[in-house]
Point group: C2
Chain length 421, copies 2
Amino acid sequence: MKDSERCRVDLIRLGELGRRGGERVERREQLSMETGLIRVEGSPEIKASKDYLIEKMKEAGLKVRFDPVGNIFGRREGFKASGGAVMAGSHLDSVLNGGMFDGALGVIATLEAVRRMEDEGFQNDRPIEVAVFTGEEGSAFHMVLLGSSVLIGEATYEEGQEIRNDEGVSLREALREQGHVGDFQLDLDDIEYFVELHVEQGPILHNEDIPLGVVENVTGLSWVKAIIRGEENHAGTTPMSMRIDPLVASADIIKFVNRRANELAAESGTTVGTTGRLIVHPGLPNIIPGTVELGIDIRDTNDATKKALIKEVISEITSLEGRYGVRTETEVLFDHKPSALSGVVIGAIKRSAEEVGIRYHMMNSGAGHDAQNIAHRVKTGMIFVPSVGGVSHSPLEWTDWGDIERGVKVLTRTLKNLSAL
Amino acid sequence: MKDSERCRVDLIRLGELGRRGGERVERREQLSMETGLIRVEGSPEIKASKDYLIEKMKEAGLKVRFDPVGNIFGRREGFKASGGAVMAGSHLDSVLNGGMFDGALGVIATLEAVRRMEDEGFQNDRPIEVAVFTGEEGSAFHMVLLGSSVLIGEATYEEGQEIRNDEGVSLREALREQGHVGDFQLDLDDIEYFVELHVEQGPILHNEDIPLGVVENVTGLSWVKAIIRGEENHAGTTPMSMRIDPLVASADIIKFVNRRANELAAESGTTVGTTGRLIVHPGLPNIIPGTVELGIDIRDTNDATKKALIKEVISEITSLEGRYGVRTETEVLFDHKPSALSGVVIGAIKRSAEEVGIRYHMMNSGAGHDAQNIAHRVKTGMIFVPSVGGVSHSPLEWTDWGDIERGVKVLTRTLKNLSAL
C-alpha cells in the first residue's frame, strides 16, 4: 500500500466507525446531510474509533498511554539521549452531525508521519509524542477543549473527570466503561514543540487555491449575551405610537455588530462579529414581542481591538434604552485571549513546506483549537489544509485527498526538522 | 341582589370554572401569571362554564338551543308579531392562559340585559337572541372564529364538526361528549341587528380615561410569511467579506415594517405593522445563520392602504436579494378584508350611551371578533369597555367593575332601542 493510500484508508475507516449508520464515504459526492458523524465522548462511535486508532498506533511501534481524562499519547523514543519531545496531534471527537476530517485528520496525519519515519528508518533526535485530546468539541460533556485544558492545568484531572454529560454520566465513568483511561500524566515541561494539523474550516485556502495555511495566531473569542425587554402587547390593538418593541430595537444591534465588524475587518482583516442567536418571546406574528435574547460572537487576533468592540457593542445595546424605552441587560459570557503561535515552529513549518515544494499562505485561525491551549505552555504551530467551500461542522465538510497528502508531507517534514532543532 | 352585583357574581364564577386550579378572583390584585384560564373547546373548564351559563339563561326565561357546531342561542320572544330579531353575544372560550373577561363579558352582559328587561317588565318588540359562539379563539381546534364562520356559511356545519384538536378528537365528538350540541340552525335572515360587547384589548380607552368605545370598523388583517436564506457558516473562520448573513438582511425588514407602519399610522391612525415572529436557524452564537423565518402582521381598517403596505413589504423583502445576495421567499398567508360596521347600529349605540349619560369614544377594533363575520350578513355594531393597561390574552387582563356596569347599561339600552327600530 502506498503511503498516501494508507492515510486515506484510515480516514475512511474512522468515518465509517464514527457514523451511527456506518456509511462508508470515499468521495465527496457520497456526502449528504445523512452522513454526519456523532462521534462524541462516551458514545459507541468514539469507542470504536479510539480502539481502531490505538491498534494502528501500536502497529506503528508507538508506546500508548492514557491519562486520567482520556487523553491518549503514543511515544516514539528519540535517538538522542536529551531534549524535550516534539508533540503533534489533534482530537477524535466530533460535533453533533459533524464531518469526517475535523480533528481525525490531525491525528491520522501525525500517525502517518511516524509511520513514514519508521519506513524510511529516519532517526528522530527528540522523542515524538502523538497526542489525541479528549472532548475538543464539548458536544457531550459541555466543556470545549476539555483534554487540553486539563493538560495545561486550567482544570485539574479530578475536575475533568467529574464533568457529566446530559445522561448524568461522568467522564470518569464513561472512560472506564470504554477502557480508555489511565494513570499517565504528561508533563508539558518535557515537550519542546507542538504542531497541530487541522482542516481550515473556512473558505480562504479553497477560494485562493492554496493547498496549505501556516497559522500565526489563533483568534481570541468572546460571547456577549443581551436581553432586550419591551412591552408584550396585542399586535392589532396597540397603536404604533404606544409600542415598546424590543425586536425593532434589536435590529439596530444586528446592523451595528455587522457594520462595525466589517469596518474593523477592512482595517485589520481579522475582526469578525456575528449575531448568530436571536430568540423572540413569545414569537407569534400577532403579538408585539416582550423580550428578545441576543447571542453575539466577537473574535479578533488583536485582543485590544476585540475588547474595544465588545465595549462598543455593549454601549450600543445600552443606548437602546434612551432611543426605544426598552430595558437592557448585557453579559460577557466569556472573553478568551488570542494565542500568538511560536515563531520557531512557524519558521520550521514554512521551511518544511518550501523543502517539499508546497505553496502556503500565512493566516490566522478563526476557530478554537487544542493548539491555543498548548501554546500557553509549549512552542506551538498549526498547519491548515483547505476545506472545500469553507464548510465545517457539517456532514458536508470535505477536504480533497490530494490536499491531505500535501498536508501530511509538510507535517512529516516539520516533525523531522523540529526533532533536529 | 343589585343588578350590577348579579353580573359580577356570574363573571367571577365563570372565572373560577375556567381556571384549572379553580382560583377565585374578585379583585385585580388577586391576578397572577398562575390565574390564567385555559377554557378551550372540549376542555372540562368549558363544559362547566357552559353548563353554568345555560342554567342562568334558562333562569332568565330564555329558550336555549344548540346548533351542530355548538353555537348556543337563547331566545326571548318579541312582543310584536313581525320583524327580525336583535342578536347580541360573544364567546366563552379563551386563549391558552387567557383572562376572565375576553368573550365571557359579552355573553354575561347580554344575559344581564335580558334579565333587566325581564325585571322591568320591558316589552321588546323584536325577539332577542343571546348568542354564544363556539371556538372564537381557535385555541384547541385551530380555526379562529369557528362558530360564527359556520353561521355565515364560510364553512358548512359538517366541515366545522370535522375539525380535530391536537388529541385527534373532532369537534362533533367533543360537543357530543359534553352534551352541548343540537340540530337547530339559525337563519341569519331572521336577524335584523347584531351587537357584541367586548373588552378593548388595547390601551386607548384606559389611557384616555373614557369608559366606552363605539366601534366603526373591525380592522383587516393579513399575515406575510418570509423565508430569507443565506449561507450558514462558521462565525470564526468566515471573513466578514465572504458572508451572506440572512439575519443582517432581515434586520432591514424589521425596521422597514416598523417605519412604514408608523408613517402610515401618522396619516390614517389605523395602520399597524408588527414583526412578531422571527426564527433563526440554526440559532447558535458561533454560526452565521443559514435561514431566517419572519412572520409579519399587517392590519388596517382601510383595505387599500393595507394591500399597498403588503406589496411594499414584499417588494422590500425581494430587494434583499440584490443588496445582500440572499434568496427570499414570501407568502401572504391570508388577507382578510376590514369590516365596516353598520351606521344604524353605531347610531343606536351612540344614542343609547347619550341617554344613559356615558361618555364614549369612536374607535376601530384592531383585534378580530365574531362581529366581523356576522357583519357580512347582518347590520352589526360593537361596544368596547376599557382593558386596564391595554393588557389582553394574558392572565393579567382586567376590566374594572364600574366600567363593566357602564357597558352593560349601554348594551341594555341599545338592545331596547334596536328592538323598537
